[in-house]
């Protein structure tokens, strides 16, 4: 299977998942996002899962861990496009993605990332004063 492409747009890395991921492909995406954060000035990560039909406990946990890892590298993560049926299933499964910010679609996700990054800048400045 092809790797999930990661593209950089300004300060944001966009990973658009094209199909149901094998465990190894999901782990690979996590590592590549970490590498990309280390080697670019990106401060936001947007993961689009709108074509993903099944998010089980493995992938749900991995999304959580990816967001936490990105946070440690100074970046915010937003997962966009979770299908309604997937959202219901995740809650029943007991996985509520508490560590992950979500948005309905890419537009709203990018807007949320911009706000989060701007808020961080604001905090940074107030600390300097």
């Amino acid at each position: 299977m092809a790797q999930v492409p990661i593209i950089r747009v300004g300060e944001v890395l966009i990973a658009s998942v094209q199909e149901d991921l094998r465990d190894q492909d999901a782990l690979d995406l996590q590592v590549r996002l970490g590498d990309a954060l280390e080697h670019t000035t990106a401060r936001g990560v947007l993961i689009d899962v709108s074509v993903v039909e099944t998010v089980d406990s493995f992938l749900g946990r991995l999304l959580n861990e990816t967001a936490t890892g990105a946070r440690l590298l100074g970046a915010q993560t937003v997962v966009v496009g979770i299908r309604p049926a997937v959202a219901i299933t995740l809650v029943e499964l007991g996985l509520e993605l508490q560590g992950v910010r979500t948005a309905l679609d890419t537009d709203k996700g990018l807007a949320l990332l911009r706000r989060l990054i701007a808020r961080e800048d604001g905090h940074g400045q107030s600390r300097l004063r």
Binding site: D20, R22, D23, Q24, E53, T54, V55, D56, S57, F58, R61, R83, P84, A85, V86, I88, T89, E92, L93, G94, L95
Partner: protein, 140 residues
């Protein structure tokens, strides 16, 4: 062409990619039987959890999935899925069904979470005897 609506299907579990094939097939059959989008997601996710257990915990990581459409006069149309392996088995099934219990890496969400997604779940297992998990969902 297999008649998805009535025929029983047997799928081998050998490696990670079979997790995806099994859950795709279960979803297709659920769709054919008239299950809605949320039930299709519940069924595919339950199959994903159970087949991953086989790949991760069974001795050789191998097992089998049987997907079996059911028709019952009282409950109507349903789908029964049996996931079996010849792995180490589960010593305490009741404990394995409790939230938070795990015998390996992960958060122990697999079995109790799977049970919540389905209408019925039965586990037949003993140490050294392998594990057979049967799950059922009935169409509302």
């Amino acid at each position: 062409m297999v008649n998805l609506g009535s025929a029983e299907q047997h799928l081998p579990i050998r490696d990670e990619s079979d997790i995806i094939s099994a859950r795709h097939r279960a979803r297709e059959v659920a769709k054919t039987l008239g299950f809605g989008a949320v039930d299709q997601s519940r069924i595919a996710t339950a199959v994903s959890e159970l087949t991953r257990n086989v790949v991760r915990y069974a001795t050789d990581g191998r097992g089998e999935v049987v997907i079996r459409p059911r028709a019952q006069s009282e409950r109507g149309t349903g789908l029964e899925i049996v996931v079996s392996d010849e792995g180490p088995g589960i010593a305490d099934v009741e404990q394995a069904l409790r939230d938070g219990f795990t015998s390996g890496p992960g958060m122990g969400m697999g079995l109790p979470g799977t049970k919540r997604l389905m209408d019925e779940m039965e586990i037949d297992s003993a140490p050294g005897q392998g594990t057979i998990v049967t799950i059922r969902k009935w169409r509302r």
